[in-house]
């Protein structure tokens, strides 16, 4: 149980940190921020990589999880980058 308390603590602190860091984002960046954050949620890829592949079903689930998380990661970062490159100052 102790490990969950500790990790729960990390969770709460990270959410608080996130709220503090991004609270004053200019509206110009709303879409890129969302798309960039979306790419970060592809971190599920790290979780997908450690799944068990003992049975055929488990192997298939792990493969699909890796596949979709990785589409999320690559697609997300590239789209965000393309978008940000368009924003120009006068």
């Amino acid at each position: 149980m102790e490990i969950y308390m500790l990790l729960g603590f990390v969770l709460i602190l990270s959410i608080y940190l996130g709220l503090e860091l991004i609270s004053k984002v200019p509206s110009t960046l709303h879409t890129p921020l969302m798309s960039g954050a979306n790419a970060i949620s592809g971190i599920a890829l790290v979780g997908a990589l450690v799944l068990s592949t003992d049975t055929n079903l488990q192997g298939a689930i792990a493969f699909l999880a890796v596949l979709f998380a990785s589409i999320n990661v690559f697609g997300g970062y590239l789209v965000t980058n393309r978008m940000l490159k368009m924003f120009k100052k006068k």
Partner: protein, 460 residues
């Protein structure tokens, strides 16, 4: 040297490095000057975290080929997609992230959770991930205009009902199944109900409320990843997931505030049932149409012009001609600004992306708070396909469903041009008294053609 012989210990240390890079990355992503670098840092963090995990995976061939295939698909979509389709692309990628966490939870269930807490985490992660997945797919289909199902249709009602049933079944799975082991395969039922429930979560929500839903789904995908991190005891998943959860939440709140509505009202009520017969049905008078050539004459003598784009500009794909008009006006000595309402369009910042694509510099884009105090010095306000965000009922008519919503107060400008196809009401279904004001001129027709007409008048 003890702990450094242990691969998990080394991984955990490197995960901390990645977490710090994620934190700096998302911080920099929130400022114009550093945003590109921030996105790069966060990608670097992802690369580090994934690389250090890949070194000791059990089944490298299968899993690495999964990454490779995902990289090809993801990159192809990202590089080929048109900038105008960004909203639906973000929704789609978001859904895939949700699907990944859904699958992680499923796999962990099959590996049999050790304790009650893990059991609860499996069910919750599965549910949030699954709802994010199918919910995002529906959002994608709605944004790409692949489905058009009315809020009142029987299909919508069916899926909405399934959504509530799925919530109840989640509670059952979390709290009852550990104590009273069911004789049926409750988990398969939960899998199916979760996926169908996600459809029901997003289906009844209308197009104009999409910015809120997209932000919320974005937040969900982060929270699901963070929960998966708790389940797998993985700190980088928790940190990165929480950051996404927080940023999505902030955007959700900003969007809801910009509509002066509560999040639950947007998700579960919608405009349709909240609007009573409040909008004044008294005679609003006649609208005054204007022709392109007359509009040109007024614009030509104006010294300051404010352009207010809305979803109509996106539909008409008019952003490039709008930029051209803006440049011609500036050459003519007119000061040109753009008034951007936070919820204009179908996703947060939708107008900003479209105008950036058309090469409009971001420092001429103004938010309502900046532009409203100086509105009476604006000679001509040009409203392009926006409606509710410039509706004066929000400030003048306490009975109106949109009363209290912050708007761009174009009615205080000297002259207002409204570019519109017809006299239909906006998304909120509220009549707009702006059209009947003394200083308003209606320029009917397709926005792209009307603006194009003005552009060629200037060139002649």
């Amino acid at each position: 040297m003890g702990i450094f012989n242990d691969i998990t210990a080394i991984q955990n240390i490197i995960y901390i490095v990645a977490s710090i890079l994620f934190i700096s990355g998302i911080k920099m992503l929130g400022k114009e000057d550093t945003a590109v670098k921030g996105n790069f840092l966060s990608a670097l963090a992802m690369f580090i975290a994934v690389s250090v995990t890949v070194v000791d995976v059990v089944n490298p061939v299968v899993l690495i080929s999964g990454i490779a295939l995902g990289a090809i698909i993801g990159s192809t979509i990202a590089l080929k997609v048109k900038m105008t389709s960004i909203p639906e692309m973000v929704a789609l990628f978001n859904g895939f992230g949700g699907l990944a966490t859904f699958l992680i939870a499923w796999s962990e269930f099959n590996s049999i959770p050790d304790n009650l807490f893990q059991h609860i985490l499996v069910m919750t992660t599965l549910y949030i991930g699954g709802v994010t997945f199918t919910g995002s797919l529906v959002a994608y289909a709605k944004l790409a205009e692949k489905i058009k199902i009315a809020k009142t249709s029987i299909i919508t009602k069916f899926f909405t009902t399934i959504f509530y049933i799925s919530l109840a079944f989640l509670l059952y799975s979390v709290f009852v199944t550990p104590a009273i082991v069911p004789t049926f395969d409750f988990f398969t039922i939960l899998l199916v109900l979760t996926l169908l429930g996600g459809i029901g979560f997003v289906l009844p929500i209308g197009g104009g409320d999409m910015p809120v839903v997209i932000s919320l789904l974005n937040s969900f995908s982060g929270i699901a990843a963070a929960f998966a991190g708790l389940l797998l005891l993985n700190n980088v998943l928790i940190v990165a997931g929480s950051l996404v959860g927080a940023s999505g939440l902030i955007l959700t709140v900003i969007m809801a505030k910009a509509m002066n509505r509560s999040i639950s009202n947007i998700l579960f009520v919608g405009y349709a049932s909240s609007s009573s017969k409040s909008s004044s049905s008294e005679d609003q008078g006649e609208v005054s149409p204007i022709s392109v050539s007359d509009a040109y004459l007024i614009l030509e003598s104006a010294s300051s012009v404010l352009i207010i784009p809305g979803y109509g500009m996106a539909v008409a794909q008019a952003q490039h001609v709008v930029r051209e008009l803006g440049e011609l006006l500036e050459e003519n000595g007119t000061e040109v600004k753009y008034g951007i309402h936070p919820v204009a369009g179908r996703m947060p910042g939708h107008m900003n992306v479209l105008l950036a694509e058309a090469n409009v510099p971001y420092d001429v884009l103004a938010e309502p708070d900046d532009i409203n105090p100086i509105m009476d010095s604006v000679d001509v306000a040009v409203v392009i396909g926006a409606n509710d965000v410039v509706n004066p009922s929000a400030t003048e008519e306490p009975g109106s469903p949109i009363y209290g919503m912050p708007i761009i107060e174009v009615h205080n400008a000297k002259t207002v041009f409204v570019l519109k196809r017809s006299m239909s009401a906006g998304f909120a279904g509220v009549q707009n008294p702006l059209f009947f004001k003394q200083n308003t001129r209606m320029l009917f027709g397709d926005a792209k053609e009307s603006i194009g007409g003005l552009v060629s008048e200037f060139k002649d």
